[in-house]
């Protein structure tokens, strides 16, 4: 059975999804790419905006979510944390 995703896994999945799309993504695409329910995504997104990891912008009447410099740094730290966890068997 697949293990339940941890909070850090979800945040990482969301930020990586934005990064993979060139740093900008539509909210619905993010929801599918990060494999989240609508309510779940709203909660996480609010938190990410609050922490300045992502920004909401409007372009041609479409809403987009962009990753910030702080968000990029956070992705790097989380990746390193996962690598550390795997190496030391934590």
């Amino acid at each position: 059975m697949a293990r339940k995703r941890e909070r850090s896994d979800i945040v990482l999945d969301m930020l990586l999804s934005i990064q993979e799309k060139g740093g900008r993504i539509k909210p619905t695409h993010l929801m599918y790419k990060a494999n989240l329910a609508h309510k779940q995504m709203k909660t996480y997104l609010e938190e990410l905006v609050e922490k300045n990891f992502v920004k909401k912008i409007k372009d041609n009447n479409y809403e987009y979510i962009t990753i910030t410099e702080t968000g990029m740094k956070f992705v790097k730290t989380i990746r390193q944390m996962k690598e550390f966890e795997k190496t030391f068997g934590l």
Binding site: E6, E20, E83, K86, G89
Partner: protein, 233 residues
């Protein structure tokens, strides 16, 4: 009198430098482990890893303080008639000296035991009993120094075998490096057991220890580098 100085005179100070490098590596990994724990407080293993590495770093600190008392404070000179006599005097009554060595042994064994406990689940009763035995063993091993290294060796063998298991599962290069580093540190402990035979063995053991901790530093830098490179898990 209990023999406590195993290093040849020309190696004095160099072993302190090696221990300082070991402290640096252990503290660096402990610092990052605390940093990652702050990001994922659910995983208590981070805090156990940090605590065990801090204990080992402190243990080396105690060893350095003790070595200073030996190397730099007990070289005495006496004038007997026309003859001037310079000799090394290790004073068993020196509180700092014995507290230092005791602290070194206790912290090292407790640190290694804590690291073991991350990988082997134990009951609370078992943990209390083992901690007590470690404290007792640390105190009484002052007259049989090899017992301390033998105990450290057993703990290190358990830890290293866990890292080998982990490497076999993942086949990941950082896991391989971690296994080799701990295997080298384990090897240094084997040599430390026999330091009474020859002072050269002490030098070899310290150099092997240095290789082990440098390996650990390389492992850690690889972890940071690989983490930067990798895409989605």
């Amino acid at each position: 009198m209990i023999e406590l100085v195993y290093s040849p005179r020309w190696f004095y100070g160099k072993d302190i430098a090696i221990d300082l490098i070991s402290i640096f590596v252990l503290s660096l990994i402990a610092f990052f482990s605390i940093k990652y724990y702050r990001l994922n407080r659910k995983n208590k293993k981070y805090i156990f890893l940090a605590s065990s590495f801090i204990m080992m770093a402190l243990s080396f600190m105690f060893k350095i303080i003790t070595n200073f008392t030996i190397y730099y404070h007990v070289l005495e000179t006496k004038q007997i008639g026309f003859v001037r006599l310079t000799y090394f005097s290790t004073q068993p009554s020196n509180i700092l000296f014995f507290a230092g060595f005791l602290g070194y042994r206790i912290l090292m064994l407790l640190g290694l035991y804590m690291l073991c406990s991350i990988y082997i689940k134990q009951s609370k009763a078992n943990i209390i009993l083992t901690a007590y035995l470690i404290l007792a063993l640390s105190y009484f091993s002052r007259s049989a120094y090899y017992i301390f290294h033998l105990t450290a060796l057993i703990l290190l063998v358990i830890i290293t075998s866990k890292y080998l298991e982990n490497y076999k599962k993942t086949k990941h290069s950082t896991n391989k490096w971690l296994f080799y580093s701990f295997a080298t540190i384990t090897a240094s402990n084997i040599i430390f057991i026999f330091v009474k035979i020859s002072a050269v063995l002490y030098v070899i053991a310290e150099i092997v220890q240095l290789i082990g901790y440098v390996g650990l530093l390389i492992t850690f830098t690889k972890v940071l580098k690989d983490g930067k490179k990798k895409g989605k898990k």
